[in-house]
Every structure is written in C-alpha cells, then in structure tokens.
Symmetry: C2
Subunit: 389 residues, 2 copies
C-alpha cells in the first residue's frame, strides 16, 4: 500500500484579523500551491474542517473553497468534529491516497472565530456539548476542562503552578515562531495572577479565540517524486480516530481513552512506538490537556504528564524525550478551531524538513499530532508523520 | 475489489414532529438494527449528514449518534454539503467498505428543521450561498431555483402547468407511501392556484420543511452473507460526487454539469448505463429540478425532462423507461435536508427488495440516486444500487 506524502503546506496569519474565512484560506492556499506547476489541475478532492456556520453564516465550505482553488468536478466537502475538524480533513486526505481512491487531495481548515467576539465564540463552541443533557446546565468548554483539571490536581497532588509552567513553556516556543498568534514570552506570575475563567483554569491556561486557515497537499509517492524533492516532503505514516462520550460523565477524568486508542492505531499503522516520536503537537486547548494527553498517548507515566514543560533530562523516569508543542501549541500559536488540526501538520512539516528556525528540534524525524474535538475523547484524531528523506 | 452491500435501512417519521434530532435518529436506528445480532459490536465507523447547527444549536453529531448507538472507540463524524450531506455520508460508508478500510459502516442523516419555523429554515438554508457575494443580495433557495425555472421554461417553450404535473405525480406516489410526509393526492389546480413563492415557482412546486432521520448499514459481502439473505440486501455498485460553482453565475442554467459528472462516474463504476436504471430518486427540491436532473443524468433528451410525470410509453423518443421519485420525492415524501440522501436509499431498498407495496415498480433491479446541495451543481452526489440477489 502506498505511503501518502505531504508535499506542501500553507498557513495564514493566526489571530484577530479583518479577513473573511475565504481570504484566510486564500493566504494558506497561495503558500501550499507555491512552486507547484498547475496545482489546481492536480487536485482530485478537497476536504475542509470548519466548526461553526454561525461565525460567518456560511455552510458549503467545501464547494466555496473548491471554487476558490479553481477545482472543477471533484468531490469537495466540509467535515466537522468541533476542534478536531482539521485533523478529520487531513485523515480523509491521507486515507483516500493510501487506499488508492485519489492521487492528490487538498486538506484544509478554516475558522473565522472573531466575528462574534468572545461571547459568540463561547456560544458557538458550546454547541459541541449535548443540547438536551448538558448545554441547558450552562456548561462551556472551560468549565468542562476545569472539571478535568480539578480532578487531575487532586489525584496527582499537583498545583496550579504546575499547570502554569506549561503555559510559560508554550509561550516561550511561540516567541520563536513567526507564525504564532502570541510571539512573546510570559512568566509564571503572568499566568498565576490572571483571572480565573473556571477554577483552577485561569485566563493564561486557556487557548485564545483565533481566526486562521491552513492547507496541506497530500499525494501518492509517485506524484510527490514528480513534484519535488523528498527532503521537502513528509510521509503520512499512520492515522487513527475515535469518537466516544460527548459528555464527561461516567469516565476516568484523568485518562483520555479515545486519544489512547487513536494514537495506538496511528503508531501501529506507522510501525513506530511512542518512544520514537521526536516532536509532538497535542491539543493544549487548556494547559491541563497537554498533561492529560502526554499520558494518554504514551509519552509520560500516569500522573507525570504535568512535567511536559521540563527539559527531557529533568522529567521523571518513564517519560520519552519528546518535545511538546514546539509551535507554541494551541495556547500561544493560536487555536482557529477547524484549522488547528492542519496547523499542527504545518508545524510538523517545518520541524521535519529543518525549517523551524530558532525552535528547531535537532534530528527530528518523527512527529505526532493529536487533535481533539469537544471535551476529552468526544472526538480524537492522531497522525504520525515522518521525514520522507 | 469487494462490492459493498446495504444490509439494512431505517427511516423515522418525516414531517413536523415534536422529536429532537436524536429521537428521530433513534427511530431510524431501531429499524436499521432490528434483527441484527449485536449490531453495535459490528459497526466500525459512523458518518452523519446534517446541515445546520442552528436548528438545534448542536454540532458534534458524529459523536452524539455514536454514543447513542452504543459505539466505542470508532471514528464518527459529521459531513456537510447542505442538502447533499446525507449522500456524502452514504458515499463515505460505501467507499470505506469498498477500499477495505472498514467492514461495517453506519451512514446516517438527521435534520430537525422545524425548530425555527419556516423563516428559520429559510435563513439556515441561505447559509449555503456565498456570504460575501450572494447572501447580501437576499437571495434564497427558492429564488435561485426560480432563475433556473424561468430559463428552462423560456428555452424549451414549457409552461407552469408542465411543472405542476411533476408535483401532482409525486404527490400521487406519496399517497401510496406510508412513510411520506404528505400522503394525499393533489390535482393540477391545487398547484396552479397556490401562491407564488418565487415566480414561476409556487408553493406546491416546492419541497416542504421537514424533520427526519434515516440510517443504512453498509458492509462487506462476506459480512452481509453472515447477517442475512441476499434477497433482503442491495449492492452499492457505484458512486460519484462533484462540487462546482457555489453560485448560479456563469453557467448553463438548464444543464447540471456536476450531476452529469457524478452520474457518469457512478454508472462507470457500476458498469451500467442510464438506460439500465429502473427506478430513480432525484433531487426534486423544486419541480423544475426533476426535469433538469432527468436530462443531466441521461434519462431524457435536452428539453424533454419536463415529461417525467408522464408514463414511460407517452414520453418523447430518447427517454428511458425509468420511474422517477417513486417515494413521492423530496416534494411529497418530505425533505429533511441532511437525511434526504439516506432516505433516497431507503426508497431504493424498498423498491429493489419488493417491499414498496402499492407503488412497487415490477422487476426493478437497478436504482439510481441523485442528491444535490446548494443550487444546481454546487454539490452533487450519485449512487447506483442494485439487487443483491
């Protein structure tokens, strides 16, 4: 079976912008198509991750982007799993190429979150929770993750300062990433002195509201060889996905079962183990997520994921040497919901092709991505990407 | 390559109901799972077509339904292409099984349109048009299709009475379908005397606003043989999809290019021609659509699709013998947007397994489905289904 390749990537600016979703997509597309001869002729299908039609009163994003990209008579559709929508789009592209359905598929993510302000974004995101059984309690994303954080701190004897260190580390990484929403360092006091959003989570424990778009082109290895050098390409070696409880009820609050399942599927398909991963973008929508996911996907022992902010040599026994959220993560690179899963792949591309500048992890040849939608394992999607040469 | 089978189907009531989307799904699922041993253990993946999060302020419909169906650690996601969402879900299920990715996939569609009344539905549907370039003109689905209808009548010298005959025929079919929203016949005067919605389209030229859900289980032939008799199953022989212009600008208004492309792809994969099709559900959201699509997918010569209401022996030369919209179509069976593409497959199942009662087309062994999203060929999805025995 052919190993699909990521031959090019593109990312718009991420943050508060005056651009529409289509404009953001144009910026990402221009970069992804740059240097390719007749790219629109090449593309056989398009998938786009997009979370909310209410941000722009726009559905049919598949057709909208296909038309904008100059595609004709190809399948194009929007996929949605809240914040995991981007990785769902990437997974379709990878699987379509792996299975021989298509030779070249464009995977995109677009979100224009700032149109309705923070209240609008919070309202739109709350649609990811069960309308009949949860939304009526007024529960929001921060309040659900606060429940997980409370339990994590209680069970493992950790503190809010431990959580804050993850935010500090991710801002430090973002300061070295010219594509990040927040390109500045913060210190522990900045986090600890910030207002509670939902205790124990404070403002600086939470990812921001962001506009942004991203695109990657996935092709067969044969086509990839025609289009460029393998040193500029990645192999999409493995993927996995799972959808479990939409609510946080009746589950182990400190282990993300679906993420474990998705990661194991991706590792198995790629023929790697967690210990082989050099760089990983996990879904740090809230600081506690990075700790929970580091444990759930096999990087850290139970209760020790909170050490993700430490240099590898200072972490507890049982931790791998993985560097987490080198882009700055959702926390500081930014979190344009439907685009996040694709933006994670852009960071993997920069790291594995040696383009990551001051944040480059030397010798990185295996990257892991974990994208979540809803709370905990409502939707989880994992990818293993490797250097193609 | 294995020929996927549709082993079971389910359809909720269709129309104005007091049920939530999840309740409607439960009804469809109960029917689709009926008689299967441990169906939840069987299902490897779930796709759900759903158009609007605003109807119920609910996204993450993939996870919501997966949890309700008792599925654990399987991929589940929502796909969206406005009114073509259901067929996009079906196509993923069929392709996943065809390519060997999964052995059993549940394809669903859900829509709870009546929550916001007719104005709410019209507003939600208008999100399918280009926000920046079209929505601001106030254009809606009926007004866009009215442009196509005006052009069709003008070019082919037809009348509003010709359009009305399609509505009368589809209501006649629905009167014989216990699952239809409108189980009563109407006459030509009912259509012609009804109010204009957007000239030349009148109230009775338009499909209704409907709640409803549908589900089909697609499996490998090996698994299908274990689960039941081939006489109770269909072969999913071919599928195709295309996404073209989101707007009606700069196109031939009387030919749906994308539908032609999707149909030819599906016929080619199935090894059949248009003339082999016995029964077809096409996307008669407005009466003119049935005429346009009959021509675009090869059933009728250009300008003669309007004769779809006539018995085959009375139609112009060049028409096939196909019977169209035997369920009553979107017009009278009802049009729960995201569920429509799956509901079309339910009618094919009933026709090809001899369960269609008073509307049974004798000897039907090949069915064709065409599901559209947006206007004209914004998204078009085609399927060819055949008797398995």
């Amino acid at each position: 079976m052919p190993q699909p390749r990521i031959v090019s990537v593109g990312l718009s600016e991420v943050g508060r912008t005056d651009l529409t979703g289509r404009d953001l997509f144009s910026a990402a597309l221009a970069e992804a198509f740059s240097g390719l001869p007749d790219p629109a002729e090449l593309v056989d299908a398009l998938y786009v991750g997009n979370q909310s039609e209410t941000y722009e009163h726009q559905i049919m994003y598949g057709t909208l982007l296909a038309e904008w990209a100059g595609l004709t008579n190809v399948p194009a559709e929007r996929v949605e799993g809240c914040a995991a929508a981007g990785a769902l789009a990437l997974r379709h592209a990878v699987e379509d190429v792996r299975q021989g359905t298509h030779d070249a598929v464009l995977a995109c993510g677009v979100e224009k979150m700032t149109a309705g302000g923070t209240a609008g974004a919070t309202d739109a995101l709350s649609a990811a929770f069960d309308r009949a059984l949860e939304q009526r309690s007024g529960i929001t994303a921060p309040s659900q993750y606060a429940l997980l954080a409370q339990r994590y701190l209680h069970e493992h004897g950790c503190t809010e300062e431990d959580l804050a260190r993850i935010a500090v580390k991710n801002h430090r990484n973002a300061a070295q990433n010219p594509r990040a929403q927040f390109q500045r360092e913060i210190d522990l006091d900045t986090v600890l002195d910030s207002d509670y959003i939902a205790p124990p989570l404070k403002l600086f424990d939470c990812a921001p509201v962001s506009d942004g778009a991203a695109a990657v082109l996935v092709t067969t290895p044969e086509l990839a060889d025609e289009l460029g050098d393998a040193e500029d390409q990645l192999v999409a070696a493995g993927s996995g996905a799972a959808a479990n409880n939409i609510s946080v009820a009746e589950r182990d609050l400190t282990f993300v079962e679906g993420a474990n399942h998705a990661a194991e599927t991706a590792y198995g398909q790629a023929g790697v183990e967690a210990a082989d991963v050099d760089v990983a973008e996990v879904h740090d929508a809230f600081t506690v997520c990075e700790a929970l996911l580091a444990e759930s996907v096999g990087f850290a022992p139970r209760g020790k994921g909170i050490e993700s902010a430490l240099p590898p040599e200072e972490r507890s026994e049982g931790w791998t040497d993985v560097e987490l959220s080198t882009s700055g993560g959702l926390k500081a690179r930014g979190h344009p919901i439907g685009a996040t899963g694709i933006a994670q792949a852009v960071e993997a591309y920069e790291q594995l092709t040696g383009r990551a500048g001051d944040r480059q992890v030397e010798g990185a040849d295996t990257a892991f991505l974990l994208n979540e939608g809803g709370v905990a394992d409502a939707v989880t999607v994992a990818h293993v990407l490797r250097r193609a040469a």
